[in-house]
């Protein structure tokens, strides 16, 4: 059997709109039989925190404040015109009205279709996070070498 097509995405941004791009590509590619690998680093880690809201998680005072301010998946800001968090709510309403999948729907679809989630070891150290702070779907905490090996032979995107 021919090897599966493969899409690997480095998810660095923690912006709402870029998260939509990540999970649209991930769920779409998985649905057309691609192997999909998502590698979350820095602000991208906010998308895969176990707690969707704001919480003082992580090791060390500064890291805990940082993680509280950054928040989780339900608190992602729009990259432009965020208006203190009002815009992502309005945008989600607009998407629902127009029958376009919302971020939670795309996120759940990506999980249901077997997308592989990985977290960046270095960024986790900086933000004082452990794998226990992340959703259980995260398969492994990786470094650059493992990511390069995993993405070899496929398409790689940086979002």
């Amino acid at each position: 059997m021919a090897e599966k097509n493969k899409l690997s995405i480095i998810c660095m941004s923690g912006d709402f709109d870029k998260a939509i791009a990540v999970f649209t590509l991930a769920s779409g590619a998985a649905a057309v039989n691609y192997e999909v690998n998502l590698f979350f680093t820095f602000w991208g880690l906010n998308m895969i925190k176990k707690k969707g809201g704001r919480d003082f998680i992580g090791k060390g005072l500064l890291a805990r404040i940082f993680n509280f301010l950054l928040g989780g998946r339900n608190k992602l800001p729009l990259s432009r015109l965020n208006f203190a968090g009002a815009s992502p709510v309005l945008m989600t309403g607009l998407m629902k009205n127009r029958n376009v999948a919302t971020l939670p729907e795309l996120f759940q679809a990506s999980i249901a279709l077997g997308t592989n989630f990985y977290a960046c070891e270095m960024a986790m150290v900086v933000l004082g996070l452990t794998q226990d702070d992340l959703i259980p779907e995260v398969k492994k905490v990786l470094g650059v070498a493992s990511f390069l090996e995993m993405s070899k032979g496929g398409q790689t995107l940086f979002i």
Binding site: A30, A31, A109
Partner: protein
């Protein structure tokens, strides 16, 4: 063998493929899936994605304005 109908005429990319894939994964080999979809992106790509998974497209027929029926064998 059972036949299931999936209406994705109101959905957009990527949920057209996603719903098709999730429905097919719930079905048994030999089952039939009738997909109602719109012309354009869904009609161009949903049948192709189904074939990519190794399933068989038995029929593609226009139903009414802008809507087609794609019959797939799991």
């Amino acid at each position: 063998m059972k036949t299931v109908t999936l209406d994705i005429t109101k959905d957009h990319c990527p949920m057209t493929f996603v719903k098709t894939k999730l429905q097919l994964s719930k079905m048994e080999p030999g089952d039939i899936l009738e997909i109602l979809l719109t012309t354009g992106e869904p009609l161009d790509n949903v049948p192709r994605s189904v074939v990519e998974h190794g399933f068989q497209v038995l029929e593609v027929t226009p139903v009414k304005d802008n809507i087609h029926k794609v019959v797939v064998k799991r």
